[in-house]
Symmetry: C2
Subunit: 221 residues, 2 copies
């Protein structure tokens, strides 16, 4: 089973503001999710919102999230909102009012479920690990029974989701402010993986595995 | 008036998990806030959480947030949670279980207030603009009365806040897994401002102002 390639318009996913930045394309949603590995998980605790950063991975149908503080409050069927945002740069306009941010953002709504089945938990953790650190699942020592039990993994359907993207120059290039003679454009931001830093506790000359070394200099998000 | 340099321990700010990563130092909180300009704002809408990315600035006592979708739901005294997270890299351990993220994260709890006084609104927008785009407040055309009215600005006290930071190598360098002979360490992530990209609508040879040009190559977050 796979999800509809068109994202559903619901009360939660409908783009009300800046509609031109919204997209209903599930492929764009997946691209935003695949570009990063840290999300912000929102839950309601005693009527108050709590927004916690955590790591995630996904398969075709659901997001897997590493449980944390928030998971204490997720006793089955609790509504959550997961947001992933990549900041691509600053939009520098002629007027303060038109300043903004170039970004890609995904938002997923649903009820998070605690994964309890050991096989699904292992499969979910594999997705999560390989998403953040490709190659590590088969290289590092896998979780034993005790570690598996000590890990909280949440699953969230990717069914109800929305994506918003802004790119390109500011919007006041064809208005009256264009005559002010001011510079306008964008200031791009780029995230890059640096050189691997060995744990000082490592014996000298422990080789850096290829799946780690090859990330150096590549772009993130 | 200024806030206590020691962050208060309340039910909302107490570090329950990974306590060693928590800090009660307001200077560290401010440093995390000053390093970025996009936060995740959490609100409760009809019992469900909503997590929206938006831009912010601050003064000594409060955070100013650009209103957005979420602000429709902020009819005075609504509890919010604002989280700012910088991802500094990946923690690559010997065991999957000990993998993690190096990060700096600030979390602020309180009731967001819509700023209505025009003077405070202008001052808050100035903080917000200068925080994201230093130098632009005096360079760009300032907001006129109509634009000011069309902008939703939220204020949130920095009183109740917490900060969490993780840095350094993985934690399994002195455990039994150290004998596995596996590489371990960190993969650092660095965000850098790229060269300014001029709006194609600009007349040729419009000079890039110094406050814009000098950001190129500097680190973000």
């Amino acid at each position: 089973m796979s999800l509809d390639p068109l994202l559903p318009e619901t009360d939660l996913t409908r783009h009300r503001r800046l509609r031109d930045q919204g997209s209903l394309d599930r492929a764009e949603l997946n691209a935003v999710l695949d570009a990063g590995f840290v999300c912000h998980l929102g839950v309601v605790v005693e009527g108050r919102p709590l927004v916690v950063p955590t790591v995630y991975g996904r398969d075709e149908e659901r997001l897997y999230l590493h449980g944390s503080v928030a998971s204490r409050s997720l006793a089955g069927g609790t509504p959550v909102c997961v947001t992933v945002t990549h900041v691509d740069g600053l939009v520098v306009a002629r007027s303060v009012f038109e300043h903004g941010v170039n970004y890609r953002s995904a938002m997923i709504h649903g009820e998070a479920r605690k994964v309890t089945d050991p096989d699904e938990k292992l499969a979910g953790l594999r997705r999560l690990t390989e998403h953040a650190a490709p190659g590590q699942w088969s290289y590092a020592r896998g979780p034993n029974r005790k570690e598996l039990a000590a890990t909280t993994l949440l699953a969230l359907s990717l069914q109800e989701a929305s994506v918003k993207i802004r790119s390109g120059p500011p919007d006041d290039g064809d208005g009256p402010d264009a005559d002010l003679g001011l510079w306008a454009g964008t200031l791009p931001l780029t995230s890059v993986w640096g050189p691997p830093a060995a744990d000082p506790a490592l014996p000298d000359n422990t080789p850096v595995p290829r799946h780690i070394a090859r990330r150096e200099g590549t772009r993130y998000a």
